[in-house]
């Protein structure tokens, strides 16, 4: 198959070698696990357990309040010791609603549903099981997997791309997963295809597993596993950051461009990560919810970089300890890759469903230099994979003209950080772009709130006017009774108690 050239991007030093060799190792069960109720895009789950309750491994801890959410499950058996706020794995260091489970070391599973053949289920049943298992996109964005599959009802899908690009440096969790569990991934892909193909006439859906060409072993393993299934093919894509970005992978593999601010399914393509395919296999074949994932531990400060299968909720500090600790205090602790990962405030935050890696970087690796003035070299323009002009957007933002940045396409920026990485003057372009996006969202929120306040104020004005009218009517009907509410006191006058909706409610 021909690979379409994608504009922009950079070739990065992979720095993957240190962690890619060892097999995936399981971590000993930590003493306690912090399971955040929101580890996905959408509404946080609502707790269904009480403090002090004993829970079994795989038991439901939090239920999704609506369709755009995902449940969370107990990663091991033990006692619920707290339900409340705990630090989130987020650069802000703010708290997030969390259920803390103290493990009893028994690893006692709940009763699992008897195994069935998922390929004999219909699409709705497959999606329901995926949703119940709390499977979300494991590539990092953590979009509920079932919600994504259900998009098939709105847009006809012709291609399923399974994303094994793993373009971020250091990370090798998908690579190891593909090498060691290729059969299981293919099974997950077949289950997804089964759900997508339901009640569809016409050509069947093809599945393409896209892997960057620096992962020869993973490519070979998946090619072998997929050979028995004609609808599934593997495809090597160039090693070029950000190949793993959904839009760029689609462009490289299918040649189609996802329109600005549109979703991939609108052009008939669905992208799922290889880790998600594996989680779907586990959920459907064994009825096991998503309670663990593969995490790469790497970075110059880590003594022995490796991939671990980690229970969701394991504190980062426990992972660091179990892996033999650090060689030196890290200059920066990251969750995810070095390009798009989140800086962690400290190590007492939990591993969540979207955690692909923990990186403890040394100051030599960060190579931080103070920013210098822009030399207008145009490097950022040349490397931006979205065809944007970061230098212009940022100069608008620095001048306080966020509308100007919008006109230059701020909303089309995927936040890949290629511009900031390539800038010879080390201008924190990405942080400016992120600041502008956040500021615009905040303004939108304030605007919405002001409109709401306006509506409420108007409603109150009408109500007070009606009450005044009603009183005036009563006063004229009984002219001898004194009118107790002089004109002009509407705003401060007491509304008639019996007609005040708030009292009645």
């Amino acid at each position: 198959m021909r690979i379409v050239h994608v504009r922009g991007g950079v070739r990065l030093n992979g720095r993957k070698r240190r962690a890619e060799r060892g097999r995936i190792t399981s971590l000993p069960i930590p003493a306690y696990l912090n399971v955040p109720l929101k580890q996905h895009i959408g509404a946080p789950a609502e707790p269904v357990v009480r403090v002090g309750e004993h829970v079994l491994k795989g038991q439901l801890l939090g239920r999704p309040p609506g369709p755009m959410s995902a449940p969370v499950h107990a990663p091991t058996s033990g006692r619920v010791i707290a339900i409340g706020a705990a630090p989130a794995p987020h650069p802000s260091g703010l708290d997030t609603p969390t259920i803390t489970v103290q493990s009893d070391g028994e690893e006692q599973w709940i009763e699992l549903a008897p195994p069935i053949d998922p390929l004999a289920l219909d699409a709705a049943a497959i999606e329901e099981r995926i949703a119940d298992a709390g499977v979300v996109g494991l590539g990092g964005a953590a979009f509920p997997a079932a919600v994504k599959l259900r998009l098939r009802t709105r847009h006809p899908i012709h291609t399923l791309i399974v994303n094994g690009a793993e373009c971020e440096p250091y990370l090798t969790c998908d690579d190891r997963l593909m090498q060691e569990r290729a059969e299981e991934i293919i099974d997950g892909v077949r289950i997804m295809l089964r759900a997508l193909e339901q009640d569809r006439s016409g050509p069947s859906i093809r599945a393409l597993i896209a892997i960057e060409n620096n992962k020869g072993d993973a490519l070979a393993a998946l090619k072998k596993a997929a050979s028995a299934h004609p609808g599934i093919a593997t495809i090597a894509v160039p090693t070029r950051y950000p190949m793993g970005s959904e839009k760029h992978l689609i462009r490289a593999v299918t040649g189609k461009e996802v329109p600005a601010r549109a979703l991939a399914p609108e052009i008939g393509v669905l992208v799922h990560n290889v880790g998600t395919a594996f989680a779907i296999h586990r959920a459907l074949r064994f009825g096991k919810p998503l309670i663990s994932r593969i995490v790469t531990l790497s970075g110059g400060a880590v003594a022995s970089p490796q991939n671990f299968e980690v229970l969701i909720g394991t504190p980062v500090s426990a992972l660091l300890r179990a892996a033999g600790g650090l060689r030196q205090p890290p200059a920066r602790l990251l969750m995810g890759g070095p390009m798009m990962g989140a800086m962690l405030p400290h190590a007492e935050v939990p591993i969540v469903k979207g955690t692909s890696g923990i990186l403890a970087l040394t100051s030599a690796e960060i190579a931080a230099r103070p920013a210098a003035p822009c030399i207008r070299c145009g490097t950022c323009v040349a490397v931006c994979p979205c065809g944007l002009v970061p230098v212009e957007m940022v100069s608008q933002i620095r001048g306080g003209r966020l509308e100007g940045a919008l006109r230059f396409g701020l909303l089309d920026c995927v936040g890949c950080g290629t511009c900031a990485y390539s800038c010879p003057s080390r201008i924190p372009l990405l942080q400016y772009l992120n600041f502008a996006k956040g500021e615009l969202t905040a303004r939108e929120r304030t605007k919405h709130k002001a409109e709401e306040a306006r509506r409420l104020a108007e409603r109150r004005r009408l109500r007070l006017a009606q009450q005044a009218e009603a009183r005036a009517a009563t006063a004229t009907a009984r002219p001898r009774q004194q009118h107790r509410h002089p004109e002009g006191s509407e705003a401060t006058g007491a509304p008639d108690r019996t007609t005040n909706p708030q009292v009645a409610a």
């Binding site: 600041f435 905040a442 708030q502």
Partner: protein, 176 residues
């Protein structure tokens, strides 16, 4: 002479009619700009701007007596919309967005006097006589009028806490 009188009368009459029609057709409100601005303001008449209400505030902005940043509940979003309505440049990042506030009632000293409930311009307060009053955070604009009328100082304005949903990266601080 008769012809001249006739002509001028006719001319005067015709022009007068034209003017009358034009006055009707092309009628201009007292101040269209003030009306346009008022439509943008929150309309809760809270008085935080220092004018007696949103209408007076709008007139002041239109007359150039008040800055577009006068409305605390509207925040930067409003300032920016006002600036673009008036066609002026405004460096919003230099406008301190006075941290948004929300009223909070202290449960132990609320006597349930209902005064705050009656004065709240957005009906953001729930309660009944001699019952603890509660504030609907989403409806509260932080105008502080309830705080003024509360006889027991149970009510106070607190800054709205930043959450994971509302946090975003700060603007980089660079000397250049």
């Amino acid at each position: 002479m008769f012809a001249a009188v006739f002509c001028l009368t006719l001319l005067g009459g015709a022009l007068g009619l034209l003017l009358a029609v034009a006055a009707q057709r092309l009628k201009v409100n007292d101040d269209p700009l003030a009306a346009e601005i008022e439509a943008l303001l929150p309309g809760s008449q809270c008085g935080q701007c220092g004018y007696p209400g949103c209408g007076a505030g709008a007139i002041a902005i239109a007359a150039g007596e008040a800055p577009v940043t006068l409305c605390p509940p509207g925040g930067r979003a409003l300032a920016q919309r006002l600036a673009s309505t008036l066609g002026i440049e405004l460096d919003l990042s230099q406008v301190a967005d006075g941290a948004p506030m929300v009223a909070v009632a202290r449960e132990d000293i609320c006597t349930g006097c209902t005064r705050c409930r009656k004065i709240c311009p957005t009906d953001a307060i729930l309660g009944a006589p001699r019952q603890l009053h509660a504030i609907i955070r989403d409806a509260c604009t932080g105008c502080g009028r309830c705080v003024e009328v509360c006889p027991t100082e149970s009510l106070a304005l607190h800054p709205v806490a930043v959450t994971l949903e509302t946090w975003y990266w700060p603007r980089p601080q660079l000397p250049i």
